[in-house]
């Protein structure tokens, strides 16, 4: 009988198998096999590793089974803009992984880094990093730092892109590389980016900071093209019917989108090639999405509904991002996620700390109680 009956079973069947993959590496398969037998992980405590000069990116992992292996560390490599890779480049990463690690990779993590796994020493971790640096790649995104700032493919391949997410990723990573590599906050800051409200980046739901391409004017309709599309069987009536804001009127010749109703949900744009995002483009920024922590799962909250995106220095965006980090730095407690901090402080007070301009875009509904604080200067008379 095989030593690894569980992994053998998991190597069968049509879906790609991690068990088969692990067997192609020097990963200590007994660790995983035993876990399945015991229904319990065999790995021990983890944490930031102590590689001199490397603030973040190396994750130490102890083992509970010294009889199998004593430990197994890994290095997080920041993903590329748009998560595009050249085979020739990736081969080099493979080579590094094979040279220093156990030959297993995590491609990609749920925060869109590459992990080079099975590293056994500080020297190896430093070696990995230096070799990666030499080829223009970098590590980081662990500990209480700004984490990797992943993006969707955006205009590189997507017809819906409202902003240039890969370029934003490149810019922001360069700009914040120190904070990505040297943890300085009370807890991690995770950012996610989507090029449009379709939200392939799920930025609102799980970003401490979410950055999403939005447009303020209406979807652009090319009526000639629309007529043609409808003529070829495109079901424009159905699309009008499904518009969640009931904003579309089609008279068989012309589609009118009611500016008083449309909420820029993207639905019609997704369904009809003749409808495109509007031209008044920027990003919205949300804060505080996360799952665990004191107050449990939370969606992000819009704090900047519209920010101009102006390369090369993206001044407005950087100002907003800085402000978000600074308030977190100043007011966040140790191991308190941004969403929990905001809840503790109160969202109104938090917005004042951020210095946002109040607008009806900042809430889904105004408040339900009259329990507001009044500042001394508001007490002079009517406001």
């Amino acid at each position: 009988m095989s030593d690894t009956p569980y992994m053998d079973e998991l190597s069968r069947g049509p879906w790609p198998s991690h068990a088969k993959e692990l067997k192609r590496t020097r990963y200590p398969v007994e660790m995983y096999e035993e876990a399945m037998k015991e229904k319990y992980t065999q790995w021990g405590h983890g944490g930031m590793s102590n590689v001199p000069g490397l603030g973040s990116g190396a994750i130490a992992r102890k083992s509970r089974r010294p009889d199998i292996i004593s430990h197994s560390h890994l290095i997080r490599v920041l993903g590329t803009p748009g998560n595009f890779y050249k085979a020739s480049t990736f081969r080099k990463i493979c080579k590094i992984a094979d040279k220093y690690g156990d030959g297993s990779l995590h491609v990609l993590t749920t925060n869109y880094n590459i992990e080079i796994c099975g590293l056994m020493s500080n020297e190896d971790m430093k070696g990995v990093t230096l070799e990666l640096n030499a080829m223009g790649f970098d590590v980081g995104s662990a500990g209480d730092a700004i984490r990797n700032i992943p993006d969707c493919m955006g205009p590189a391949l997507c017809e819906y892109a409202v902003v240039d997410t890969p370029r934003l990723k490149h810019f922001l990573t360069k700009h914040y590389i120190d904070d990505i590599q040297f943890p300085r906050f009370g807890y991690k800051i995770k950012t996610k980016m989507s090029g449009c409200p379709n939200e392939c980046g799920k930025a609102v739901l799980h970003g401490d900071v979410g950055i999403i391409g939005v447009f303020r004017d209406l979807p652009r309709v090319d009526n000639e093209r629309l007529r043609e599309w409808a003529g070829n069987g495109g079901n424009i009536a159905l699309v009008c019917d499904n518009c969640p804001a009931d904003a579309m009127r089609w008279d068989n010749r012309k589609l009118v989108i009611d500016g008083d109703r449309c909420v820029r949900c993207m639905y019609c744009i997704n369904r009809v090639p003749a409808i495109k995002p509007g031209d008044d483009r920027g990003v919205a920024i949300t804060v505080g999405g996360k799952m665990k922590g004191k107050f449990g799962p939370m969606k992000g909250k819009v704090v900047f509904p519209f920010i101009e995106i102006t390369p090369p220095d993206y001044k407005e965006l950087v100002r907003a991002f800085d402000r978000i980090c600074d308030v977190f730095d100043e007011h966040g407690l140790k191991k308190e996620r941004m969403g929990d901090m905001i809840q503790r402080i109160g969202f109104d007070k938090y917005l004042e700390m951020l210095g946002v301009e109040v607008s009806p875009m900042l809430f889904s509904s105004p408040r339900r109680n009259t329990f507001y604080h009044w500042k001394a200067e508001e007490l002079g008379g009517a406001v």
């Binding site: 909420v263 009259t370 007490l379």
Partner: protein, 351 residues
């Protein structure tokens, strides 16, 4: 002693007119032949007309009630009821005499209306008439609003009905349960009268504060931490030595969109859209203007049969502010315990 209380309440039959008893549970349809008059038709073919009056806010005199009793005797077999919005209703009026009854009631100063797509009777707490906690005066505001909106009460010309409730302090939620609500707001923290502090139970007082703003001071007194106080008034209710603060800072907030019924998008509490307006008796211009501003935007934009909250749900709160022209401020952001629910977690902006 034992002969006080324990009685309960009169039997159902005792105060209900015969036609209602006969047709109890058999009512089939109703019509509203004119504002304020409801005609109910029973399966048995019986019919019952009711005539609805607005009532003065919060207090009425024995003298007037006796006059209304006289009218009831004359026109509705001696029966009336007070509705759940405190309207006065003559029950089972002889149809031929309806116009006469209306004429007499209006002559007495009681407008008839408040049915269907009209302004209904305005609910208001006693406030300055009899209470120690108010930040504003509900009856005064109700009267000012009623005078300004009288034609809406007497006509069916709104998209759906309009209900306005007024509570002069945070205690009463009626204001969050109406299409438009007015809630008294203290902008100042309460005042502690140290000399009196022995009277109430200190632990109860301290405990009464939802934000832990009340701290013990010395052996007998307490102090209120200004930055923590949300002016809810709980302590002023529970302790005789704590009074509501500076009356110059009192006033009221305006709420929109309370709804109880299960139709449309179902029940929900209203939301505060204007955090503060100053007290200006006796005509309360700011309140009247705010209500008219909201009512007009709704009237202009709503679909037929669309209640205030359904309208807002359809257009979104962002557009509510745009269409009414109400200014937003940081006070619109709910930063209290459950405020997260009201933050925006989507990108469905109504620019």
């Amino acid at each position: 002693m034992s002969n006080i209380g324990g009685v309960g309440v009169t039997p159902v039959e005792e105060n209900i007119p015969p036609v209602l008893l006969k047709n109890y549970g058999k009512w089939d349809t109703h019509e509203i032949p004119r504002p304020g008059v409801i005609k109910r038709i029973s399966e048995t073919g019986d019919v019952c007309y009711t005539v609805r009056l607005a009532m003065p806010p919060s207090r009425i005199s024995v003298a007037t009630m006796l006059e209304l009793c006289d009218l009831a005797d004359e026109y509705s077999g001696g029966y009336f009821r007070i509705t759940l919005r405190n309207s006065f209703e003559f029950i089972d009026v002889i149809p031929e005499k309806i116009d006469e009854l209306i004429g007499k009631a209006e002559a007495m100063g009681f407008p008839v209306g408040g049915t269907k797509n009209s302004l209904h009777n305005i609910m208001a707490c006693p406030a300055w008439i009899h209470c120690n906690l108010p930040a504003t005066d509900s009856p005064g505001i109700a009267k000012a609003l009623g005078d300004a909106l009288i034609e809406e009460f007497k006509n069916h010309r709104l998209p759906s009905w309009l209900k306005i409730n007024i509570g002069a302090c945070a205690n009463i939620e009626e204001a969050l349960m109406a299409d438009i609500g007015i809630i008294g707001v203290h902008r100042d923290q309460p005042i502690v009268i140290e000399e009196k502090m022995q009277i109430c139970e200190r632990p109860t007082v301290i405990h009464s504060c939802p934000t832990y703003a009340i701290k013990p001071k010395g052996k007998h007194s307490v102090t209120i931490v200004a930055e923590k106080c949300i002016h809810c008034g709980a302590c002023t209710m529970h302790c005789e030595a704590i009074l509501t603060g500076d009356p110059k800072l009192d006033g009221y907030a305006v709420a929109v969109g309370g709804k109880a019924s299960n139709t449309g998008s179902g029940p929900d509490l209203g939301r505060v859209v204007i955090p503060y307006l100053p007290n200006n008796p006796p005509r309360w211009e700011e309140a009247v203007n705010a209500v008219v501003q909201i009512m007009d935007a709704w009237r202009k934009d709503a679909n037929p049969d669309e209640r205030m909250r359904e309208w807002v749900n359809r257009i979104g709160w962002d557009r509510f502010f745009k269409k009414t022209g109400i200014m937003v401020s940081i006070k619109d952001i709910d930063g209290y315990i459950y405020g997260s629910e009201f933050a925006r977690s989507d990108l469905r902006f109504g620019w």
